[in-house]
Amino acid sequence: MTPASLTPNRRRLGRTVTTRAAEAVLRALIYICGWLCIVILLAIAAFLVYNSVRSLREAGLTTMLSGMQWYPTSDPGRFGLAPLVVGSLLVTAVALALAVPVGIAAAVYISEFSGGAVKEVSKSVIEFLAAVPSVVYGLIGVAVLIPAVKDSFGLSSGMTALTGGIVLGIMSIPTVISISEDALHAVPVELRQGSAALGNTRWQTTYKVTVPAASSGIFASVMLGLGRAIGETMAVLMLTGNAAVMPHGVLESVRTMTGTIAAEMGEVVQGGLHYSVLFTVGLVLFAITFGINLAADLVLERQQRRWRR
């Protein structure tokens, strides 16, 4: 005979109407929150497209993208986006030329060579650097870098693509470091030991095994750093001089896509052609950063799959 205390009380243990309802509500809430992100992304894209329709119809996308002249306030206005796109790419290229080598080298140092306190302190310092507002970086650039570039290259103005690119590079370094460091950290310790056990120094192990094994994550960090650099507005607005002409080198003033939107949006007629063109600029920027982030995600996912087996 089973003692009475051990016989299951079905009424109390079963799922009641209330618990079922609560679960359904909670599940619906979580679903909504998850889908909300996707909805917001699509809404942004739709909003940009909707507002650029007028310019796409009147000026034409290919005409705008290939146009070399940006005179939005002349009559009729000329809306050539090419100088802005090239300006953005030029500043970004300078930024990457600085951020990629420095960032990867720093990540390798933190992950493979530093230990204990140095590792912990440098990781939190890097997180802090990523949180400094871009206008602060801009201020330092104005005070230090603009005169320095002006003097060392003998220019009439220190506001150049180089100046903006350097500050942008410094701003991108934390992104490159922290994602690269994560990727290096994810390389199984057994691989390092295997290499050490074959008579390799730590440096040989790092460049022959660890860095190649983390290469896709390091690539993703570069892409995310690129995304950060190309989307940055305030620092470049303060430092590049904002001349909307096709640049011939890094020592000339440039205007970026982000800088153009920020500088001109306040002065345009709502719903006018210029207004609509600025949305097209935003759309181009959105497409570029979306593509970069998507590529980085795909690469990161491939890396994670590799270590899962």
Binding site: G115, L191, S195, A196, A197, G199, N200
Partner: protein, 289 residues
């Protein structure tokens, strides 16, 4: 069964503990045979906690020595002393004297990087590098500065044959190492260790992550290698120790507050049939551990 007596054919070298004195004497006689370890009064501490104390052990050249004992008795830690891999972990202090063929490997007496070219290691889980089969095997030789293609080719072939993997992969040397099965990956790791022409190979439970058939293949590989290289193997599987080793060393940590000791070491046949120590007998008959 091959025993260490084979090394000193005059019979003066017995395999009963203590080994140290006799080992030193025997070295002159067997100078042409390489890959013997002599440990005297070796202690290991993690930080302040002494985990292994007073180990005296002679590891004969070109024979298989098995380290057995319950989990946590310091077998792997002792194994890592032999190629200074404890250095990589930090906070591990090794005291006493360890010599390889009469040459001290402790402290500044030996560059650990050079030592590891002479003393290879195979780990518990297969850890091939994320590159092709060929590049995995050629990894060590390339570190040693071998660049000539023909030389690398023959080293790779020789090593893969040594690890009994050549027939399975000879047509697919460019294939990524991750496409191999677990057992094949482990034999690839053995081949990788062989490619640096080590005198000794340390194996830390090399078959514990493998299925029985792969385990059998690893054991066959060990049996083939025993005549050309010294093998020190840590294993939890006592049947495996009995099958493949010439000498067996039993380690035991009798309580958590005391360090582990080497309880008994001797000819494998003797350890498994007629051990001197009561604790060894209890362990091998499965009464604890």
């Amino acid at each position: 069964m091959v025993t260490a007596v084979r090394i000193a054919p005059d019979g003066t070298l017995s395999l009963e503990a203590p080994y140290v004195g006799e080992a030193k004497r025997s070295l002159a006689e067997v100078a042409d045979i390489q890959g013997s370890f002599t440990l005297s009064d070796v202690s290991v501490a993690y930080g302040r906690e002494v985990v292994i104390e007073g180990v005296d052990l002679f590891i004969p050249p070109r024979a298989v020595t098995a380290l057995i004992g319950p989990s946590g008795c310091g077998k792997s830690t002792l194994l890592r002393c032999l190629n200074r891999m404890n250095d990589e972990l930090g906070n591990v202090h090794v005291q006493g004297e360890i010599s390889l063929d009469g040459q001290s490997i402790m402290g500044r007496a030996m560059d650990p990087v050079e030592l590891r070219m002479r003393v290879g290691q195979v780990f518990q889980r297969p850890n091939p590098f994320p590159m092709s089969i060929y590049d995995n095997v050629a990894y060590g030789p390339r570190t040693q500065g071998i660049r000539r293609r023909s030389e690398l080719d023959s080293l790779v072939e020789e090593s893969l044959k040594g690890a009994a993997l050549w027939e399975e992969v000879r047509k697919n040397l460019k294939k990524h190492a991750f496409e191999l099965s677990g057992g094949q990956q482990q034999r690839l790791c053995i081949a990788r260790a062989l490619a640096t022409k080590p005198e000794v190979i340390l194996m830390d439970e090399p078959a514990s992550a493998l299925d029985p058939i792969s385990t059998q293949q690893i054991e066959d590989t060990i049996a083939e290698l025993r005549s050309s290289v010294t093998i020190v193997i840590v294993t939890h599987n006592m049947q495996q120790a009995a099958r493949i080793s010439d000498q067996t060393a039993f380690m035991l940590r009798e309580s958590l507050d005391t360090p582990a000791h080497l309880i008994e070491v001797g000819d494998t046949k003797k350890i498994f049939t007629n051990p001197d120590d009561r604790r060894t007998e209890s362990y091998i008959t499965g009464r604890f551990g």
